[in-house]
């Protein structure tokens, strides 16, 4: 483990700095992917499958091709290398690389409703849409595989010829059967979670154009500019001939982690050598974009007479949909976190993710670690009920502590603030609310969670950043981070400003360009503050030390007397502006910029079929939430009255941004708890509009009290932990607990719709 990078703070870190991007956004000046246009631009659109599973017969595009204004119609045979490969680390022997392959455009078979079959580019949006209507596709419909458990049966219809099992992970630690035999109390239940959609407000969009020297440039709403490599493979171009730029993104939540419009845009440029734009409709996004994995979670949990956990036996079956994408990794997160933030000496996890003819599932905020929270917290509540112990007290008896080892074999080597979080939440809750009218019931529920931050250690993650002065003493940061709305860029400005003692107003950051900004990895996995933050702090710190001797000379002082502050350097009464320091550096041929690479701690050896115990993630963020709800037992209507949400964020670089992540995560988690689900009938997606797929509005969102605890023990800059994903985990189990408290009946299938709640109350 490398120690977290700690720096003396100039007071900029930790302040509620107004985000520079917020000013532009509120004024309507920010340009998102769909806001760009180029002269002579084509418009591209996709012909998508109308069936969940079918063999493709003849696809006739001749009439579409002949329509005035149509520049090209491309199909699978027109894609130089028609494959998107997902490299899955870990137990790759279970996930043959071939099985992890998806096509850019369907070949012979379509495996989900909405799968792209043909790509049209035309002079206008209307012409492109009209051409789609003229493409005739012959389908030979096949039985749709829609139940992942049934799909594992020996004679089940196959989604892919190699079998329906996409990936599996197992943990077996201790002697689970003996521990159950000795247990005082054992509870058992099955929990079910739904497909849900990211439902960012910005649909998938982008533009692309042919650039100088044969470079194809794609500017798209993405969390991953490193997809330029995937595009190069698809186009059969050298990697240095493809460039991806991420403008400010209108929400990602994992849904813009896999490629969306990028390959289609790049293919049109390759074919036509013209600029092109593609914007998915909301319906396309809801119908065909990757979803969150539904899971069936079978839990058996035993404890001793004091409520201390002895054993957990956990079975997970996840619906991976039609193609692999990131399923194997999502399942790894679920497997690792399945025991919850509780010490347990005997744990067995058998986790499987299965191909079906549903929309492919992949990354979404929480990434497998949040589905299991419904189950592990439900089990704690059941045990508390059986033992007659307060649910929070039962949790306190079992909280993980620093130095404990998870069943997966990872030892927790930073502070685990769970007891403090529980205390803060309990204190923040106050008195129980009264029902607002006769017949209503109120309930209170608490839930805790753990969520990794940073990519799994086998990926040997790294981030690079460039920090340098201009001649006038202003500062520039160049870094490949896509900013998806969480304040990724502005936090880095804050960090650079703090380390070098320069007002953030005098810092400009250039982000998200695979050709011009140093690569820093994906804005996913709650890793950007951790990784890019460390990279910027490292680069800025090294730049400061590089200039320090020169500053000492300039100020006629000792090097250790020099302070970087207020936009210049100071030693006692003597002071020089950065512009003077840079001028001196130019004269002395000392560089006034720095490119640095931060490397995350590596992992234990994992390439073994028999044992992969060990470190999986850099570290975890812990949380504890509580909700008060009011229920109308007649109608099943649930109102969340308030929510207290505490997380140890290590160090709040910008407290306002941290609160924003917590509040937004809570409301997204409440949508998961109470309303959101993608509905399929025989694999056909029936929730293709925002009128059918309901996300919380301001009315459903409760008053939220975020509690930010700063242990200073994270691996990020200044001891920060990641906070992007963690807050989405606890709301659903907290609501489940509150409903059980209100109704005396436990719901285990999400979402807790009025129908289900009324039925449980009856």
């Amino acid at each position: 483990m490398t120690a977290p990078i700690r720096e003396r703070t100039a007071g900029i870190v930790g302040s509620e700095l107004v985000r520079h991007d917020a000013v532009e956004k509120v004024a309507g000046r920010t340009r998102y992917a769909a806001d760009y246009g180029l002269p002579g631009m084509l418009y591209a659109a996709l012909k998508r499958s109308e069936y969940a599973h079918a063999r493709l017969g003849r696809v006739d595009a001749s009439a579409a091709q002949a329509l005035p204004g149509v520049a090209c119609v491309l199909m699978a045979k027109d894609v130089p290398r028609n494959a998107v490969w997902v490299d899955v680390p870990g137990q790759t022997f279970q996930v043959g690389a071939l099985k992890a392959r998806a096509n850019v455009l369907a070949e012979d078979v379509v495996r989900y409703h909405g799968e792209p079959i043909a790509l049209v580019a035309a002079e206008s949006e209307d012409a492109a849409l009209a051409a789609l209507e003229l493409i005739e596709v012959e389908y030979d419909e096949q039985p749709a595989v829609t139940d992942p458990e049934a799909a594992l049966a020996p004679n089940a219809p196959l989604v892919h010829e190699a079998g329906n099992l996409l990936a599996s992970w197992q943990i077996h630690e201790g002697d689970v059967d003996a521990a159950f035999a000795a247990a005082h109390t054992v509870v058992e239940d099955t929990y079910r979670t739904p497909f849900i959609d990211h439902a960012y407000l910005e649909p998938e969009a982008g533009v692309a154009w042919p650039d100088a020297d044969g470079v194809i440039t794609v500017r798209a709403a993405t969390q991953v500019i490193e997809h330029f490599r995937d595009l190069a493979k698809i186009l059969r171009l050298p990697e240095n001939r493809v460039r991806v730029i991420a403008p400010y993104v209108g929400g990602g939540f994992g849904g813009k982690e896999d490629m969306t419009v990028e390959p289609f845009l790049a293919l049109v440029v390759l074919r036509t050598r013209r600029p092109v734009k593609m914007v998915w409709s909301r319906s396309e996004s809801l119908l065909a974009r990757q979803k969150r994995h539904p899971m069936v979670l079978r839990y058996r949990t035993g404890c001793d007479g004091d409520g201390r956990l002895l054993a957990q036996d956990i079975g997970i079956v996840a619906d991976g949909g039609a193609y692999a994408f990131l399923s194997a990794l999502v399942l790894l997160y679920a497997t690792t976190c399945a025991q919850g933030p509780y010490r347990c000496p005997n744990v067995r996890v058998d986790a499987r993710v299965v191909y079906t003819n549903h929309t492919p599932c992949s990354a979404m905020r929480g990434f497998g670690a949040m589905q299991v929270a419904l189950a592990y917290e439900g089990q704690m509540d059941r045990l508390a009920e059986r033992l007659g112990v307060d649910p929070l007290e039962l949790r306190r008896r079992n909280f993980l502590e620093q130095g404990d080892t998870l069943a997966v074999g990872q030892t927790l080597d930073t502070h685990v603030a769970l007891p403090e979080l529980a205390d803060r939440v309990e204190a923040g809750l106050g008195s129980r609310p009264e029902p607002s009218r006769p017949g209503r019931r109120v309930g209170r529920g608490v839930a805790c969670n753990l969520q990794p931050y940073g990519r799994c250690v086998w990926l040997n993650d790294w981030s690079s950043a460039w920090v340098g002065f201009e001649l006038d003493g202003t500062l520039v940061v160049r870094i490949g981070v896509p900013d998806i709305g969480g304040g990724q860029a502005s936090s880095l400005v804050q960090l650079a400003g703090d380390v070098l003692g320069i007002d953030p107003d005098r810092v400009v950051i250039h982000v998200g360009d695979s050709a011009l900004t140093p690569l820093t990895g994906t804005t996913t996995a709650t890793r950007q503050l951790y990784m890019s933050g460390n990279a910027v702090v490292q680069a800025a710190g090294e730049l400061r030390e590089q200039l320090r001797p020169l500053a000492a000379e300039l100020l006629e002082a000792e090097a250790d007397e020099v302070e970087f502050t207020g936009g210049g350097v100071r030693a006692g009464e003597r002071r020089a502006e950065f512009s003077e320091l840079v001028a001196a550096a130019a004269r002395r041929q000392v560089a006034w910029h720095r490119l640095s690479i931060f490397r995350a701690p590596g992992g234990d050896a994992w390439r073994s079929e028999t044992s992969w115990r060990g470190r999986v993630f850099p570290d975890f963020t812990y949380g504890c939430h509580a909700v008060d709800v009011e229920v109308d037992p007649e109608t099943g209507q649930v109102t969340v009255l308030r929510c207290v949400a505490a997380h140890d964020v290590g160090r709040a670089i910008n407290p306002q941004s941290v609160e924003g992540q917590i509040e937004g995560g809570v409301v997204m988690g409440l949508g998961y708890a109470l309303a959101e689900r993608v509905v399929y009938e025989d694999g056909v997606n029936l929730t293709g509009t925002f009128a059918q797929y309901l996300i919380p509005t301001a009315v459903e969102a409760p008053q939220i009290e975020p509690i930010v605890v700063e242990s200073g023990e994270g691996l990020g800059p200044y001891g920060a932990r990641g906070i992007g994903e963690p807050p989405i985990g606890p709301p659903a189990p907290a609501v489940a607990a509150a409903l059980a408290d209100a109704l005396g009946a436990r719901l285990t299938t999400l979402p807790f719709t009025p129908e289900r709640v009324a039925e449980a109350a009856a």
Partner: protein
Amino acid sequence: MEGGGLKTCQLELLVNGRRLRTSVEPHVTLLRFLRDEAGATDVKYGCGEGVCGACTVLLDGRTVNSCTVLAVQAGGASVETVTALSRNGELHPLQRALVERGAVQCGFCTPGMVLAALEAVRLGLAGNASELRRSLAGNLCRCTGYGKIIDAVEVYRDEEAAA
């Protein structure tokens, strides 16, 4: 839907105070006209069916979802987008409150949200937080959880009342 096959209509309207005289096909929505023909890319496409509110604009001073209005229906009208609010680069006090309260994350809902909130305050439909929440129910946000937006609008409302 075939391109070029439809009769175009004459259209004259004000967009953020600028007079536009042009022709437009009758099926083109106000949203599409504003973004593609009038350069008003601050108006956002979020759902195209009047649910999410990202395309909210002021049509003769009242908010509409511009995706559910045809461009030709705005003939003779004055259309204002969020751009019209900041004058000489100075943010409107409501915009300032939103920025200062951390109510902007990805920002995609923000232009529509600003106009909806402004109208709610102007029409006296923001008397308290729960009334304000109802007034903003037609503007979806997936990032913030709404709390900081509500706080910011209340700050603005109280400042206005005190002024």
